[in-house]
Symmetry: C2
Subunit: 336 residues, 2 copies
């Protein structure tokens, strides 16, 4: 049975869930793709562990300080890297330091954190093309909501005119709380924090940057655009007042934070901002932590995808969907 | 440049649209997959034409009587068959006579008509596995609405607990007309016929059989079920009264014809019937000719896909999406 070695960089909630699912699905991978899949190296920001024969679940609870960083992870010579570190959309670090060298060496890379893709998406795509490595980004683009799959696979052959999405769960929850319970943004944030539904500092969500990051990755990977964050006109929900929401309600409309990319004059127009959505638009029913993407095409018309998966399991499962797509391509004809 | 020969069986509106798109996309296939794709044989029920060097668009307007049937089409030795004939869900003919022998010979088959898949889906899957041919069914499962892709690709690795869908555009249009304009079923049918939105005999739609056929294919191909049409409890919209619709409206609900497959006790429960749908369910906004599928999974939660493509272009485009998936697999590493 062919041996496939996997490494995970980043051991927060999502990285740990990825590892847990990898162990649970070991038999599934053997049965379906004829591979013996081993986790040969893992690390967080300060500690990690490697074993060329494969780490056990117990090993993951006994990490060794200092065993971390790109050289440590890539030194384990994985066939596949799963990058699940923190996101910094200004520097792309630390993910970029793992993914770039991995792709250069022909290591298939599954990226969950958005930073490196936002900062250097087209360049990473070129590295992958040059070395023949696969670069998969489902976990970074609204995770369990099928977005990049829909653009790349489900609508293959179509011209995609535009995409628009409700891509950030935190702001969608806040907007629902403001519109349905007439909470101020500040009170909505306090409620979300009380329910552990947002980070201690949700400003990147509130100001629209998380939506912009996902939108950018979808445009660059799913519409063959070559945009940078500076090309996106980004506004968030921070200026939205209850009075504006009341005005919209009087017209039967609800506020949603929408990211949108439209083909225009041979280029792309990309925006993020709050918009009133009519009650008979399915986006009006995308409430709370639900996310959605609408795609307009030439011959396949309009497609809407709506998803409600919870974190971190949904994100981890999205990354492992990417893993199976790689396994499927690597083992053509040998699997089911 | 590698030569790929394609044959089309069935030259109704959809088969003709498939041919039209194939010509329009010839350069795209060359650029993306490095293949010279030629249409080497086509036929309807009474006439057809073949040319080993590839038919021109003009050739398609000058079909030769008697040049038709499985021996004629398969005699042209295509690499890929696109089957776009009429659907008969009781006999599977004429499609079955083309698809079965094609798969036996290792010819990749893209199936648009539902009959053969309903009558012999699992058997055809086995034939494909035995010969190594690919069997693709996007065009038979609600076409441009990504359904089988979602199950097979977008949710890969998940356990699918249940699927439920609004899968038949004609009945959905009729139900919208009944609920919104208080038309009787008979008057709604007359309106649909006046707008060319239904066949002259829409009974297979109205009695739920078209929904059942699509549901069965989705279950057998997307959930690894092995159901026959007799396993599906099928009811249609023929018994629905305006009084029942009024009662539901008083509760804030709208009628939808829902096909549903649920895993139960190690098997599958499959039903088709009219149900009242609550106003805050996105299915309530799936009106007119729009279709939708909801999938419940273990780790990826609930995913809803909604599509509005028009016929025949949307169906033809779905079949050609399948074609690109085959080209992509055949030319791994040689394309972009």
């Amino acid at each position: 049975m062919e041996r496939i070695n996997v490494a995970i960089a980043g051991l927060g909630g999502i990285g740990k869930k990825v590892a847990e699912l990898l162990y649970a699905r070991h038999e599934h991978y053997a049965r379906t793709y004829g591979v013996d899949l081993r986790l040969v190296a893992v690390c967080g920001s300060r500690a990690g562990r490697a074993d060329p024969q494969g780490l056990s679940e117990t090993d993951l609870e006994q990490l060794l300080p200092g065993h971390c960083g790109p050289d440590f992870i890539l030194g384990a010579e994985p066939h596949i890297l799963i990058e699940a570190g923190p996101t910094d959309i200004r520097t792309g670090l630390p993910g970029l330091d793992y993914i770039g060298p991995a792709l250069d060496r022909g290591i298939h890379s599954i990226v969950i954190s958005k930073g490196a893709l936002v900062v250097a998406g087209p360049r990473l795509r070129q590295k992958a093309a040059a070395s023949g490595a696969r670069l998969k980004v489902s976990g970074a683009t609204a995770a369990a909501l099928p977005t990049i799959d829909l653009l790349e696979y489900g609508l293959l052959g179509c011209e995609i005119h535009s995409i628009e999405g409700i891509l950030n769960a935190t702001t969608n929850y806040l907007l629902s709380a403001m519109a349905e319970d007439r909470l101020s943004l500040q009170d909505a944030v306090l409620r979300a924090q009380g329910r552990s539904m947002t980070e201690s500092d949700p400003s990147k969500d509130i100001e629209g940057w998380d939506t912009a990051a996902k939108l950018l990755i979808l445009a660059n990977f799913g519409m063959a655009a070559d945009l940078s964050l500076d090309d996106v006109a980004v506004d968030g929900i921070q200026h939205l007042t209850l009075a504006a929401i009341d005005d919209w309600r009087a017209q039967g409309k609800v506020p949603k934070l929408i990211g949108r990319v439209t083909r225009q004059n041979g280029g792309f127009l990309a925006t993020v901002g709050v918009e009133p959505v009519a009650a008979d638009d399915v986006f009006a029913l995308v409430s709370g932590k639900t996310k959605a993407l609408r795609v307009n095409t030439d011959v396949m018309g309009e497609i809407v995808s709506i998803g409600t998966a919870s974190e971190p399991a949904g994100t981890a499962a999205a990354a492992l969907k990417d893993l199976e797509h790689i396994l499927s391509a690597l083992t053509v004809g040998t699997g089911e």
